[in-house]
């Protein structure tokens, strides 16, 4: 047995790791060639990447931006002596605006652009709660009515009167709640705006417009198309389905059997059928279900079905958020004397919705991608437009360039959204105690 006693006289300084551990070699050794299996994987991957790039890059490199038709492209490519052909970008040059905006009148395209920019401004205070002042939420509220008006145009009175709906609902709530109780109040608050929107807004707006004409040019929704259509269907459906989804989620969490089963039935039905069948309902059946003489245009009908579709998914997301709240929150609200609706509005939903934002973003991404299905029922979303563009004798036979362009657009938007949602999820996880 030795004498253990040992004291270090002076401390050792930090040293550089051996060369094989750091720098390029160390990195390579650790990350690519640690062990024979990894080395094989690395080699296989490199070969694979090379093969893919070798197949695609020469095709991609093709100076055909100026070509006016497929045959012109073919001439240019043939002149360059390319073996495997080359991309024909002329079609993108000529049609990119159509792919983005559909048939929206050219001189009015600032409106969807403005709406799109506004969307970010409106979302900022919701999505980045810390970085933006809460006051901006006012703009978010106003945006809900401003955006449809910008997109569709028409008299300014319509959005203003539509916006008056919630206010009327609130007044009705106050009135009825005092006279007949909160529940009746809530029902009134739901019914009054709907009746107002359905019955009164049109005539009243018309009347005011005839007295004080003020508005912007009307754009029919059939002119909506391309990428703008996808975005717009997605945004409208998600925005409205948030409200519906919250109601459904509350219904599903409710103790009231019938309410619960109705909600469950609706949610499971919608989630159980493919979106395409719902779109077929929109295109072939919805008008049959409506009172005789009603005629929504197809884009509105698709929006209705997309909203119903999204609301079932949002309901499940919100339900997750509700379930994540500890019971104590409900009890504390009860003990303070808040009734069900106040407790939901002031205590439960603000928290549950915040937890649900990543889920809502994912639902939006899913829905946004799914909007491409509208091409199957003949709407001219980007994929639908490829058909029309290829029906142009100039571009008959073009495939990859169009699909590639569309895929790129979708990839860029969905990828950035999903990154945001991941970031948010991480943030919420650390924030949430």
């Amino acid at each position: 047995m030795a004498d253990y006693s040992y004291v270090r006289k002076e401390m050792l300084p930090e040293r550089e790791p051996p060369a094989s551990e750091v720098g390029v070699i160390g990195w390579l050794r650790e990350n690519l060639f640690s062990g024979w299996f990894n080395s094989i994987l690395t080699v296989v991957s490199v070969v694979l990447i090379y093969l893919i790039l070798a197949a695609i890059v020469p095709w991609l490199w093709s100076p055909t931006w100026g070509a006016g038709s497929l045959s012109e492209c073919r001439d240019i490519v043939a002149e360059l002596g390319k073996e495997h052909g080359g991309a024909c970008y002329g079609v993108i040059t000529e049609r990119w605006q159509q792919l983005l905006f559909g048939f929206y009148p050219e001189e009015l395209r600032w409106r969807p652009i403005l709406t799109f920019v506004g969307l970010f401004v409106a979302l900022a205070p919701v999505l980045f709660t810390d970085a933006f002042p809460r006051k901006m939420l006012w703009f978010t509220g106003a945006y809900l009515f401003l955006a449809p008006w910008l997109m569709w145009g028409g008299p300014i009175w319509t959005p203003l009167l539509v916006a008056a709906g919630p206010a009327l609902g609130f007044v009705a709530f106050r009135f009825v709640a005092r006279a007949a109780g909160t529940l009746a109040g809530v029902i009134a608050a739901g019914l009054v705006p709907i009746l107002w929107w359905l019955l009164a807004v049109g005539p009243v707006a018309g009347a005011i417009q005839s007295v004080v004409p003020l508005g912007i040019e009307l754009v029919e929704s059939r002119l909506f198309g391309g990428f703008m259509l996808s975005v717009w269907i997605g945004v409208v459906a998600i925005a409205i389905s948030l409200v519906l989804g919250v109601v459904l989620a509350l219904g599903r969490q409710s103790d009231l059997m019938i309410v619960k089963y109705l909600s469950v039935g609706f949610i499971e039905f919608i989630r159980g059928v493919p979106l395409i069948t719902l779109l077929f309902v929109a295109s072939t059946l919805l008008n049959i279900f409506m009172p005789p003489g009603t005629n929504f245009d197809i884009i509105l009908r698709v929006m209705i079905m997309a909203t119903l579709f999204a609301s079932a998914y949002i309901a499940e997301v919100v339900r997750g958020g509700l379930a994540a709240l500890p019971r104590g929150q409900y009890e504390a609200a009860d003990a303070l004397g808040l009734d069900y609706w106040k407790a939901q509005r002031l205590v439960i939903l603000p928290q549950a919705l915040k937890i649900s934002i990543p889920g809502i973003v994912s639902t939006f991404i899913g829905l946004f991608k799914d909007t491409t299905l509208v091409s199957i029922i003949g709407l001219l979303d980007p994929i639908g437009l490829t058909g029309s563009i290829r029906a142009d004798a100039n571009w008959n036979g073009i495939v990859w360039e169009l699909y590639g362009f569309i895929a790129l657009l979708f990839f860029l938007s969905c990828f950035s959204m999903s990154r945001y949602s991941m970031w948010l999820e991480k943030k919420l996880r650390t924030e949430h105690r």
Partner: protein, 263 residues
């Protein structure tokens, strides 16, 4: 359980008990499914009384006080709070809840609201107090629980003891005439227990009617004017604190007390 040494400065003389009945529970029974959790509870609480309830875990203490503000529904017998009977009439429930404040073991503050907003929420939306007045009132009670400087923080930024004091202030803002406490200190680190108990003692000195489930025997001895011992869903023994601790009558009580103190 740490039996806290309460300084003898507690001024029990101020704690007046009137003859007025604050809570009257008669023959009350409650079941969870088929499990008989409260059995034939009879209890009269006078205005200004400070009652401590103790007993082994699962004996129904929490359930009893949760029945008093209808967080749980009883199935037989009567509970009358401040002259209002708790029955299926929801108006009565609302009335009782606005008279009775409750503080939970796990605080249950609203994490998305600041301390001040936590305190003003119910006064504004339930009592329809103007916001300015509600804020003043909240600041008043936050001062009382000695954390006015935290008003603009979020609950997550506070220590457990501070959170529990906010919870007390939040209840007080509704100006309740009765306060219920369900083990308000048992989720706290030892250093923080005292600050919360101090707040509660202060409340008692001001004559608040209080029912408190706790195992802090020091607190019970210093403040309570009655200690109730529950076991198996029944009130087994009740007495003045001194008598209760020094001279327990029932075997169950003796056994329980020996455990608590021996621990």
């Amino acid at each position: 359980m740490s039996t806290l040494e309460i300084e003898p400065t507690v001024d029990t003389s101020k704690m007046q008990i009137s003859d007025e009945v604050a809570i009257q529970i008669a023959d009350m029974n409650k079941w969870f499914g088929t499990f008989h959790v409260l059995r034939d509870i009879d209890l009269t609480v006078y205005r200004g009384e400070r009652i401590v309830i103790c007993g082994p875990s699962g004996s129904g203490k929490s359930t009893l006080i949760r029945c008093i503000n209808r967080l749980e529904e009883h199935q037989a017998g009567q509970i009358v709070v401040d002259g209002t009977e708790l029955n299926s009439d929801l108006k009565n429930v609302d009335k009782v809840r606005s008279e009775v404040g409750m503080v939970f073991q796990h605080f249950n503050l609203f994490p998305h609201l600041t301390v001040l907003e936590n305190c003003t929420l119910a006064p504004i939306w339930v009592r329809k107090v103007p916001r300015k007045e509600a804020v003043e009132r909240a600041m008043h009670f936050l001062e009382k629980v000695k954390i006015p400087e935290q008003a603009d923080k979020y609950p997550g930024q506070l220590s457990g003891g501070q959170q529990q004091r906010v919870a007390i202030a939040r209840s007080l803002c509704m100006m309740p005439r009765i306060m219920l406490f369900d083990e308000p200190t048992s989720a706290l680190d030892p250093e923080m227990i005292k600050e919360v108990l101090d707040t509660m003692i202060e409340l008692a000195e001001e004559g608040m009617t209080m029912i408190c489930v706790t195992h802090e025997m020091g607190f019970a001895q210093a403040v309570a004017n009655r200690v109730i011992f529950m076991a198996d869903g029944q009130i087994v023994e009740q007495n003045e604190p001194k008598e209760f601790f020094n001279n327990p009558k029932s075997e169950r009580t003796k056994q329980f007390l020996s455990q608590i103190i021996g621990h």
